[in-house]
Amino acid sequence: MVQKTKQARTGAECSAEAMRQINPDVVAAYPITPQTPIMHAFSQYVADGKVDTEFITVESEHSAMSACVGSSAAGARTMTATSANGLALMWEVVYIAASTRLPIVMNVVNRALSGPINIHCDHSDSMGCRDTGWIQLYSENGEEAYENTLMAVRIAEDPNVLLPVMVCQDGFITSHSVETVELIDDESARGFVGEYHPKDALLDTDKPVTYGPLDLFDYYFEHKMQQIDAMEHAKDAIRKVFDEFGQLTGKKYDFFEGYLLEDAERVIVCANSSAGTTKVVVDELRAKGEKVGLLKPRVFRPFLAEQVVEKLKHAKSVAILDRAASFGGHGGPFFNEFRSAFHEEKEKPAIINYIYGLGGRELDLAQLRAIFEELKAVASGDVGHNVRYSGVRE
């Protein structure tokens, strides 16, 4: 029987706690703010003998992801964590992990990419990774970071998927803030995650295999097609893992979480900690009788476009909030995906984009009230500029 306990934990500690329960074979990591407290806590578990993990301290993030690729190919359950510039330094190996089909799980504590150098939260790091072939899960708070990390292992290792997963949480806002979180007991968590049975492990000397050979115009496209297909299989695998984990925790997990969404006329779409802030404003405006709601993506890769349409088609106006700019593009990365989902639909809401919160700029309640207010004019047909900015000084 699953035992649930409420504890006061930071988001980073939640990720480390999930890693302790998973007890991965290998962790290779390099410190970078604001990811550091995850590995700080986890390396303490290693030092105290609470896990059996081989912890590899490396000289850079490029080496961290390279060590993860080697270890995962060897057949070890492998995890790491990083942020911003660390993720950027991993970049080429991040692609190699996905295309070599290695089920590595990485916590990404979202932080603005330099420059100018900035250590605070935005999503430019993981949004830049949207096309790397990694599954991406987003976490509103520490509890979701904990749950997503446990579920990520199962999703990544599904034999029909075999793709790496990144679990994102907001730097400082989530990673360093203490909140009450509900965790499950070690036995239930370990039972859920299960044993890892690697496919084509390099250390299986009875069955020798080659990893990473040259792949030119004759077969590269076929291997990319397999990755595309694996992302399709990931949709079923994620659904299955969500349902199974939900039976343990008594909660319901979905690709997109609606908050007072069913009859909402004006909707904000945003990920991670901003969704928590938006819920406060939704409650406040609902108390005044306004039909407002929130849609929070928990899974961005793979992107379930049909569910977006299903969840948002009844709304009159929708603001998609992007905590990342796509310089020279028409709006941010979320905006492009969510808006495209409606292209063939006849009945659809008016959709606008807000770029917000870059470099840790706060998203406060007044800004969200103003966005809901502006959605009234948008709903009445006055769309105006459909790419807007919230919280930047003129």
């Binding site: 295309s99 070599t100 089909r101 290695l102 075999l162 084509d200 069955k207 020798p208 295999v209 080659t210 990893y211 990473g212 050979p213 792949d215 004759d218 077969y219 496209f221 076929e222 291997h223 097609m225 397999q226 297909d229 694996a230």
Partner: protein
């Protein structure tokens, strides 16, 4: 490639090669622009070409091998005589021709054999 290329559903994922030792099936001879030609009148069977060939595409032949060099032929049953080229694997690099002490190997453009 002589074999019909396989579709994405038929090959191992991740670019992995799950069958050991299959490089022998790879016909590197397809890459060749220059073909080595052997002159058995000049060949002394020193086998330097056989030692240097990066693709093991020089065959070693016995005393009865029709392609064996004329001078210095060994009477040992299966080795120590030039035994011809394995043109399925010879990439035409020309190392054999460049290092032959008697200039018994010359390189000719493949198009001359079309």
């Amino acid at each position: 490639m002589p074999e019909k290329p396989k579709g994405w559903k038929e090959i191992p994922i991740g670019g992995k090669i799950i069958e050991p030792g299959n490089s022998t099936k790879y016909r590197t001879g397809d890459w060749r622009t220059f073909r080595p030609i052997h002159d058995k009148e000049k060949c002394i069977n020193c086998m330097i070409c056989w030692m240097l060939c990066p693709d093991s595409a020089i065959k070693a032949g016995g005393p009865d091998c029709p392609e064996k060099g004329a001078k210095g032929a060994s009477d040992k049953p299966s080795t120590c005589n030039f035994g011809g080229f394995d043109l399925e694997h010879c990439k035409g690099c020309g190392l054999c021709a460049a290092n032959c002490p008697t200039k018994a190997i010359t390189m000719k453009q493949e198009k001359e054999f079309d």
